[in-house]
Amino acid sequence: MDVTLPVPAAAPARPGRLPAGLPIAGLFLALVAVAAVAPGLLTHTDPLAADPMAALQAPSAAHWFGTDQLGRDVFTRTVYGARYSLFIGLTATLLSVLAGGVLGLLAGLAPRAVDEAISRALDVLSSFPEVLLALLFIAFTEPGTPSLILAIALAFAPRYGRIVRAQTLLVRRAGYVEQAVTFGLSRTRLAWRHIVPNVLGPLPILATIGLGTAIVNASALSFLGMGPQPPSPEWGAMLSESRNYLRVAWWSAILPGATLTVTVIALTAVGRRLQARFEGRR
């Protein structure tokens, strides 16, 4: 028997998440953003300045992250590398959310035949592992930043497409949509006022979590040499260059890698927390 008692205004806390870590995550992300937009504020060295005499030095007061095989300051390169990861990740995510969202909405709202066609297309695209699909795209173009962005956008669009489509189908059948019919709303007004907002609502949060994945994939492809070419200080590319010096200078590979990981962790943690908060509202 259910008389539901008023739900407390606070969102149900998801056990296992570290709420204390959240402000730290936010702070770190802010730092990364600063590094991307105004790296000069965090470091005064030139990321491309090579000093062969000072090669492969361990982290010290002079070089916080040590130096790499060409004597370049790893910390500076890491700071300057932020803009690649953020720019590529953000643009790719935005593009794929846009493409996927439009396709998903279309599939969900359109007549059965259109839905079938779009769904099959999304299924086919999804059956290719994302990195390999990106590789294929890059094979047809040139390795570099623009093709990397497009490649990742292409590889991730089906994922968002399917999510949006599933959500659209769910919302279409919701009680409040039917209710609005009884008010005399036309189909278009119904779609704009009730269906689209409720479908697109969860997207920004999903995109935040997806941004983390996009950044990881971008750096993975850069690691393979498919992204910004050396001497650009992109994190994945830096790891690739330093891999051969791992035995003697672990810092030149692992510290940028750790920065990358912590960025993604922060993004995912913030995204998931937002998700838990807003899921209580649905």
Partner: protein, 306 residues
């Protein structure tokens, strides 16, 4: 129920066919001349161009070309790499086994890690769960190559327990497989744990406990099956991840395999090889997704009509 099985197999076949067609279209609709695309960065001589034209039958009507292409595919003929001057099937066949080995071992590790972590952390105190959650978040967020590099540093260079590169023997599989298994295991473990906890909250769990069941029996005989459902649904996607990540991990550990083949081919613009690798992975994905869907039918009797 057999109808559901047939339907699933049918749609898998459709996706495979569509993937092959998409590859075909990608090749023929790419900007520029198709022959140029196939030549790539390899040797560019009139003889090779003539060979390409003859192999593809470019003088024949488009439909005929397409059907011939499908026919060749069904017979395992993936075309020819004009960059390396070898049949694509040969190139792939010689390198596929190391990747398969790696993927199999990685899958086994993934399942062990996922199920183990989930069972250990379900319903325990906040500290344990918080710790495990943080651990999972870390491994899921870390790029595969970083984990590989870290493992290399510690276990190969520092401790010397495992070989640094190559594919000499079984011990060379451990670190690469772990690099693949940790992120996926972390992800899967979250899904399984959430499934377990949701199942333990359901009314049937209360009924089961009211019969005097121990916590172990409750987990194993009731909750696990429910938790596997969402995990099985994910299985197909996870295979995709695995294949993607294998490419990168092979590079980190200097292992031979399809990853090497694929990246070399991209670098040399050897399109037929890249297409073939991509199609092969799509085929593996479809096959495993279908198996996962069928497994789902087996686990959940509510889906078998009558």
């Amino acid at each position: 129920m057999w109808r559901a099985v047939l339907r699933r197999l049918g749609s898998g076949a459709v996706v495979l066919w569509a993937a092959a067609t998409a590859a075909y279209l990608a090749l023929h609709l790419a900007p520029g001349d198709t022959v140029d695309t196939l030549v790539g960065d390899g040797p560019d001589t009139p003889q090779i161009r003539a060979q390409i034209a003859a192999d593809l039958g470019l003088d024949r009507p488009a439909v005929v070309q397409y059907v011939a292409y499908l026919w060749r595919l069904l017979h395992g003929d993936f075309g020819r790499s004009y960059v390396l001057q070898r049949p694509v099937a040969d190139i792939i066949a010689s390198q596929v086994w190391p990747t398969v080995k790696l993927t199999l071992v990685a899958s086994a590790f993934t399942v062990l890690i996922a199920v183990g972590l989930a069972l250990v952390s379900t319903g325990r105190g906040r500290w344990v769960r918080g710790l495990v959650s943080a651990l999972e978040l870390s491994v899921v967020s870390a790029p595969g190559f970083l984990i590989g590099v870290l493992l290399l540093s510690v276990f190969s260079f520092r401790l010397g327990w495992f070989p640094v590169s190559g594919d000499r023997d079984a011990s060379a599989l451990v670190l690469p497989a772990l690099s693949l298994a940790l992120p996926l295991g972390g992800l899967l473990s979250q899904v399984i744990r959430e499934g377990l906890e949701r199942a333990l909250d359901e009314p049937f769990a209360v009924t089961a406990r009211s019969r005097g069941l121990t916590r172990q029996a409750l987990l194993w005989r009731h909750a696990l099956r429910h938790a596997l459902l969402p995990a099985v649904t994910l299985a197909g996607t996870l295979i995709g991840f695995l294949l993607s990540a294998a490419v990168v991990v092979e590079r980190v550990f200097g292992r031979p395999g399809l990853g090497q083949v694929a990246t070399d081919a991209v670098g040399a613009k050897d399109i037929p090889v890249v297409l073939a690798v991509v199609m092969l992975s799509a085929a593996i994905y479809v096959a495993l997704s279908t198996v996962a869907d069928l497994a789902y039918l087996l686990i959940d009797p509510r889906l078998r009509k009558g």
